[in-house]
Symmetry: C2
Subunit: 195 residues, 2 copies
């Protein structure tokens, strides 16, 4: 049995579309506190994303030790600042004003646990350069996207008109969306969970 320890509809869709059979179980951990502690301790964003992915998987693995549990997390860093998923359209506008004209990195972590032990982990780091869009462009964009802009940490959906925000995108598309599916499938095959 494969469990995806995530509440993300996007991650579940990526895994389901790839033809993997699994069950999704959201794992509730205090992400904000862990991020805050990691940042205060001078940890790199990729390391903190790995910690968060592991903690979510461990939370589920404690209940279902026999399952193969997939944990995942994503942190956006722009310079020294880390952004959290926006909770309102106002906050999404703040994010976009912070990101415009800059290159940011998505630290997308994924790991697998079996018998409560970490048996595999991976971090992808796609980078995205946003155009220096004016305030009214951001306002029009958010009005068109509505609450859809809250589904991504950067307040953009590349599969929608969010693509108009960008000048340059480097890195794997699925890792940008939140799950490095290619290395994950490679591990699942190696582990004998997938053909």
């Amino acid at each position: 049995m494969i469990i995806l320890a995530s509440a993300s509809a996007t991650r579940a869709a990526i895994l389901r579309n790839a033809g993997v059979e699994f069950e999704a179980m959201p794992a509730h951990i205090d992400e904000a506190a862990i991020k805050h502690a990691g940042a205060a301790a001078g940890e790199a964003p990729g390391a903190v994303a790995q910690t968060l992915a592991r903690l979510k998987a461990q939370r589920i693995a404690a209940r279902l030790p026999d399952a193969l549990v997939i944990g995942a997390d994503q942190i956006l860093s722009v310079g020294d600042v880390w952004l959290d998923k926006p909770e309102s359209v106002t906050e999404a506008a703040d994010h976009l004003r912070r990101l415009r004209g800059q290159t940011h990195t998505l630290h997308t972590a994924v790991c697998c646990l079996r018998d409560r032990q970490m048996i595999w982990q991976h971090v992808a780091t796609p980078t995205l350069t946003m155009r220096a869009v004016p305030d009214d462009f951001i306002a029009d964009y958010l009005a068109a996207e509505g609450d859809d802009c809250l589904s991504s940490v950067g307040a953009y959906r590349l599969e929608g008109r969010g693509i108009q925000l960008f000048e340059r995108i480097d890195g794997d598309y699925f890792s940008i969306l939140g799950l490095p599916i290619l290395p994950l499938l490679g591990f699942l095959r190696q582990h004998g969970t997938l053909r």
Copy 2:
């Protein structure tokens, strides 16, 4: 007015999702003959894809000279062989047997015409490495995908279980699907057709 001179549902979806207003008009040209002539003359696949994109756009521009007409084409090359979009599941299986264990290139061309003149063109060349999957994997994959596998020149849909066929993918996701949307949007803004 923007016209997409293409019958591809995938290309139309990419452009529509990006928030561009346009009308799609399929342009019928003898693609097979042009490819054959290009290959016989020793032309590079990227150059032939550009020719095909241009001819499709010209076919529409002849009727609608005032419109901005977008032409697009994609050629798959593996070694010296060029593959065409499969027309049956049997042909899709031939494609996958040819591609497995190899790295292939997608030559994805896009151009814009205004007043019958070419005003912009671009070719993206993502590369994809397929795993050396056995025959029964291909059979199971095609049985699961059905006619959906006929929508892509390589007989795979990365947004579906086609992702399981791959070891490595390098290049822009949208250019793999058939339209280099990021450079196209950049041109449309520069041209004043888009904000």
